[in-house]
Amino acid sequence: MAVVMFLGDIRRAAGCATVAVEADTVASALAVLGASVGSGFAGLLVRDRALPPDVEVLLNGRNIAFLDGLDTPVRPADRLTVFYSGLRGFPGGSAGSARGQGPGPRDRFVLLL
């Protein structure tokens, strides 16, 4: 089983920080993840045999762009890392600073002037 680690807000989308996966290529590993981890995750990955431009995948610390891309083979005990190259949070959802989310459940007080 290979181990996948999510970074930043992809953890929120996936519902976990690390997960084990059984697959023989990066593409199939992502497909398995898309079907098994948090529902927000599937929508982020692999459309038309390509990753979204700001999602990076490392295999044993090497960006798959410098290996065989999505066809890069995955072996047992391999480590995959998935992160946003923009280091960004999960679109639309965050518990960090509110960036104008409409009604703010976190605001304890406002001024009305």
Partner: protein, 600 residues
């Protein structure tokens, strides 16, 4: 003049006099401001061979034309001097609110010369300038000093100050402003301490104008929207801050651990940006006019390390933890707060601790020389030593001079991880070849900001490059170095370049100054500034021989992980870099290049 205030305040501390001088518009046009014009002013006025802690060194507070304007992140200023740590040019950047306040008082530059007989502080209040006694503040932390100074001047005054470290001429000493922002590197705090200046306090109600307000505000709003839309500046940085890098760089296998003995840290998760956001983070905060707001307001609520402040940022987190093998986030945070209060560069201080730990573990530091053992992973030792360093007492007296001096004293200078006696930051050049080149060639000693090739080697901004390869790294390093020098000269924050480019900043500068700047010229000015710094260093006695890396980086492969076996292949990049720069084989700018840049 628009944007520039057109005035320099010259303070002669020996005589206790101050003088306002006009800013030469031709010089301003050619060097812009901040890093560029500040370096030009310094290098025109001091002998590059002087002793940095002697009265004839000068300390320049340098704002840019955009400092104090509403341009996003338009709040930055530089501290420029000759560094006691490296013997080379020092140019430290800081944010917060202090820089704009200098402009609101009417000045683009403050030049401090000579040495006051007794500790003093400067009080700038619009046209009024006072040199006031600071005897009662000497010995106080930067926070205590700021509180007292505001009480003595104005509750909303902006303060930059040194702590005990700077007073005691520590080479790790920095200048703090607004309590939690640092002009960190190269020991600039020691230069201020050598002049017996405790603080500069400013409160102004004058305006900063721009040549074409409508164009400026339109361009400014466009920049704000671009920064909001970019994933790094619009979400990642405000949310997780720079510490998001811990897990990313660790995954790549070049997170320097235990003084660069390993490339991965088993405790990375415990000190990561994700963990910080879940535990000690209170909220994020911004500097003057900043759209990004990446600062970490934090608090350790209970326990022996409880306290509050800002940080740790990635570099601080790494230098004080990780590089010391420490995964206790609370201890790291406490050490970070101490550095801010005592006035020390977290990078230099952290690496000094890590260097000491390696020397101690190898038996090179006799047990009698230090009051307690210094071992990797010992959080209590970290916090203890930082405090000792901040006051320069016991073993801290030497450690406060930085890792190079510690390693040299104990007979193993090769164990200092840095360049030109300034400590490496948080990326192992063996795993990112562009950074190896950048560290070796940075004009102020090892520095990640001067040419941040992590942008391409990890994040693919603006394009993806394999961190392990040397192809193309000379070219991209030079480009990043020149663009950075330009951005550092206008008064905006370098982090904007994760979301916008020089092509967005040049029009802002032009709308502000009306001086006729084009993008091409702006990039040329960046190159000019880089060469100006180089010339100063050469005259100060540095040479191409100093553009090198420690033996561990050049010859010892990273022992494990994704970058196992990698070394820094400087020899594959440096000759090409010199050529692209228009320098000879020894790294000296040719006459033709200097003529092209109007430096000859």
């Amino acid at each position: 003049m628009s944007a520039w205030r057109g005035q320099i305040l010259r303070v002669n501390l020996t005589r206790g006099t101050t003088k306002t001088e006009p800013l030469d518009p031709k010089l301003a046009r050619a060097y812009i401001g901040g890093r560029g014009l500040g370096t030009k002013l310094l290098t025109d006025e001091i002998d590059p061979k002087l002793d940095p802690l002697a009265p004839n060194n000068k300390l320049i507070i340098a704002t840019g034309p955009l400092t104090g304007t509403g341009a996003s992140t338009g709040g930055r200023y530089m501290v420029i001097t000759k560094s006691p740590l490296t013997g080379a040019i020092a140019c430290s950047n800081s944010g917060g609110y202090f820089g704009p306040e200098v402009k609101f008082c009417g000045y683009d530059f403050l030049i401090l010369e000579g040495r006051a007989k007794e500790p003093v502080y400067l009080w700038l209040n619009n046209d009024s300038v006072e040199i006031r006694p600071a005897g009662k503040l000497w010995g106080k932390t930067t926070h205590e000093a700021e509180d007292q100074l505001k009480a003595d001047t104005h509750p909303e005054a902006k303060v930059c100050s040194i702590g005990p470290a700077g007073e005691k001429l520590a080479f790790t000493a920095c200048i703090m402003n607004d309590k939690h922002r640092a002009a960190g590197r190269s020991g600039v705090g020691a230069v201020m301490g050598s002049k017996h200046v405790k603080a500069i306090v400013a409160k102004g109600s004058q305006s900063v104008t721009v040549a074409r307000p409508r164009d400026f505000m339109a361009a400014s709003l466009a920049v704000v929207n671009k920064l909001k839309a970019s994933p790094v500046t619009g979400e990642g940085l405000p949310k997780y801050g720079t510490p998001i890098l811990v897990n990313v760089i660790n995954a790549h296998g070049f997170l320097p651990t235990r003084n660069f003995q390993q490339g991965q840290f088993e405790g990375a998760e415990q000190v990561s940006g994700e963990t910080i956001a879940d535990t000690i983070l209170v909220k994020n905060k911004g500097c003057f006019a900043c759209t990004i707001a990446c600062s970490r307001v934090s608090e350790v609520k209970e326990g022996k390390y409880r306290g509050a402040g800002e940080g740790p940022e990635y570099e601080s987190d790494w230098a004080l933890g990780i590089s010391t093998g420490i995964s206790d986030l609370q201890a790291i945070t406490k050490a970070n707060y101490l550095c801010n209060e005592l006035g020390m560069d977290t990078i230099e201080a952290g690496v000094a601790v890590a260097t000491s730990m390696e020397l101690y573990e190898r038996g090179y530091i006799p047990a009698g020389d230090v009051a307690r053992p210094l071992r990797f992973g010992d959080a209590e030792a970290l916090v203890w030593l930082i405090e000792e360093m901040g006051h320069r007492r016991g073993f801290g007296e030497l450690a406060a001079q930085g890792g190079y001096r510690v390693a040299e004293r104990y007979g193993h200078p090769e164990l200092f991880m840095g360049v030109k006696k300034q400590a490496f930051p948080a990326y192992d050049g063996r795993g990112a070849q562009g950074m190896a080149l950048g560290y070796a060639t940075s004009n102020r000693g090892a520095c990640h900001l001067r040419g941040y090739t992590i942008s391409v080697e990890v994040f693919g901004i603006p394009k993806k490059m394999d961190p392990f390869l040397t192809e193309g790294k000379a070219e991209v390093s030079k480009l990043f170095q020149d663009v950075t020098a330009f951005v550092d000269s206008v008064g905006m924050c370098l982090f904007t370049t994760f979301g916008i480019g020089a092509e967005d900043i040049a029009p802002l500068l032009e709308a502000a100054t009306g001086a006729g700047y084009t993008l091409e010229e702006c990039l040329k000015i960046g190159e000019r500034v880089w060469n100006l710094e180089r010339l100063f260093n050469l005259k100060a006695g540095l040479s191409g021989k100093d553009d090198t890396l420690p033996p561990r980086i050049l010859h010892e492969g990273i022992p494990e992980g994704p970058a196992k076996g990698m070394v820094g292949k400087l020899h594959e990049m440096l000759p090409e870099y010199y050529k692209l720069r228009g320098w000879d084989g020894a790294g000296v700018p040719t006459k033709a290049k200097l003529k092209e840049l109007a430096l000859a």
